[in-house]
Symmetry: C2
Subunit: 313 residues, 2 copies
């Protein structure tokens, strides 16, 4: 593999001159610049990012940790993050942690050992130590669609879960629903529990309490679309019709929710915007070196489709 030295020799200059040309430093005579550029083109030289990383203070790599890449919302966020990262010259290290605290810890340590410049967290276990672990090692952390952490070094790009939940509950209420239940995939997940809380609060505003279980409920609110769609399937296999017998609402508005056969009423939140913005924030933090608490909330909106209906008395 060609190195800086190879190019330098070929161009008959010193390493630093080549380095200066590569990095676009001002003080190089246009004559030598051309000569170096020719040598670079001839050899196909690209700086060794590993050496740069060791020497400099940056790996231009960021990590993204997610509970499950198979969730289209996360996949979409990751794609957006990857695109944004690329554009800024950063690579993305992907890690699935399945909300397993041990895996989260090990992932965190691996990310630290690899000296990533920052980490985007798109989902973690309830009470996870991952943000603190990373921050304590001086690594900037951005929480994406996962607000509510109180560390003052954290930057947060969030969805308006509270607002979204209010709108969902209001929508169901207006359809006559009074018994609504919340379901989530796992009690371990931070985001799911936050939405459960928001759900309870929204109900409370209308003087209602969450239904204990699906049995008594006329409507089910799932913590995300993936789960809502799975629940829909499960119910229908038991002969319960949606929305005739039971209404279902999701959260995220993944593309599939708009499929005519699914028609899931849900809350639209912009995974692409969140992923992209998370990268911008993490890169800014990495480059400036100061970690300050930041919180941006992306608006949500209700998309009414065919999975919710008027309650039958």
């Amino acid at each position: 593999m060609t190195t800086l030295l190879d190019v330098a020799r070929k161009a008959g200059v010193s390493k630093s001159t080549v380095s200066n040309v590569v990095r676009g430093v001002e003080f190089v005579s246009s004559e030598t610049r051309v000569r170096v550029e020719l040598a670079i083109a001839a050899t196909g030289y690209r700086p060794n990012e590993i050496a740069r990383a060791l020497r400099g203070r940056s790996t231009t790599a960021i990590g993204i940790v997610l509970p499950d890449l198979r969730n289209p919302f996360h996949a979409e966020m990751t794609v957006a993050a990857e695109r944004a990262a690329n554009r800024l010259g950063y690579a993305l290290l992907a890690a699935n942690t399945e909300c397993d605290p041990e895996l989260e810890e090990e992932t965190g340590r691996a990310l630290i050992a690899r000296r990533v410049d920052g980490v985007i967290i798109g989902g973690i276990s309830l009470g996870s130590h991952l943000p603190k672990l990373l921050l304590d090692h001086g690594i900037p952390v951005t929480l994406a669609s996962l607000g509510d952490h109180k560390d003052p070094r954290l930057s947060i790009v969030d969805t308006d879960d509270r607002g979204g939940m209010d709108v969902i509950v209001r929508h169901l209420f207006d359809l006559g629903h009074r018994k609504m239940a919340f379901v989530s995939q796992s009690l371990q997940e931070h985001a799911g529990e936050r939405r459960r809380l928001a759900f309870s609060q929204s109900l409370l505003q209308l003087g209602l309490r969450p239904a204990r279980s699906r049995q008594g409920a006329t409507a089910i609110v799932a913590h995300n679309d993936m789960h809502a769609i799975a629940v829909m399937d499960e119910l229908e296999r038991q002969g319960i019709r949606v929305p005739a017998d039971l209404s279902i609402v999701g959260f995220d508005d993944i593309p599939l929710a708009a499929h005519r056969r699914i028609g899931l009423t849900t809350i639209r939140s912009d995974a692409t915007a969140i992923g992209g913005r998370a990268v911008e924030l993490i890169v800014k933090a990495a480059q400036s070196g100061n970690l300050q608490s930041t919180r941006e909330v992306f608006a949500t909106s209700l998309v009414v489709r065919s999975s919710t209906g008027r309650v039958m008395v």
Copy 2:
């Protein structure tokens, strides 16, 4: 951040001794070993992987390039790859290329600059130069679910597209279909075009030719489930009933295909197995240093659901 030297000083030994302990080298007296281990525990030292990478010949990082992480088949493969990579101590660099030749090239160069130990390719453009680019730089490449490249340095973990297509076509034939059309998302994609070819060959065996377009066809075979499901939606929005008016078949058997409201007849192929195996192969190649042509084909099977039906005459 603690370095080897910090630990060495703390333990009152030299850098090399600490290094020997860390790497589990034999010849260290158990006495000093303990002392060093204590110092490591006390400082929370973890080797700097960047320095290791620069010094050694390995970054213990592999790249995975995909056209679209939003495709559940790719997401699943990536999750499996990440898990396998993790287990072997490797990190995964994810890159979406959208089958754009320019992006592929740039991604390849970035991966080379980062000195990844190997690259798994889960999808590329037709006639892409990416495999050659990487291989020419000495980077092992494994094609996952994307066979048919003829470079002798390539290892391939493939799905049996030909076999799967035969079974699909036979299934449709048995249902009375004689006019079948193939649709794919993009003409640019390698895997899609390969399946198109397989489709034609399968038809030919039965003395049939592909239908020119959807119009004349009684059945549609899509190059993957994602596309099949999208087409299903599109058709039904036009008032065409599936399968009453038109049968649809996918390929991959993503989880959604089994959803009762979708019920997509498709070919099951094991994304998890493919992703995991691809990592094993790439790591083996990276560690042994020799690139030999290898081809493993994973069996497929037909899953008949409700998107295909007897043709109405």
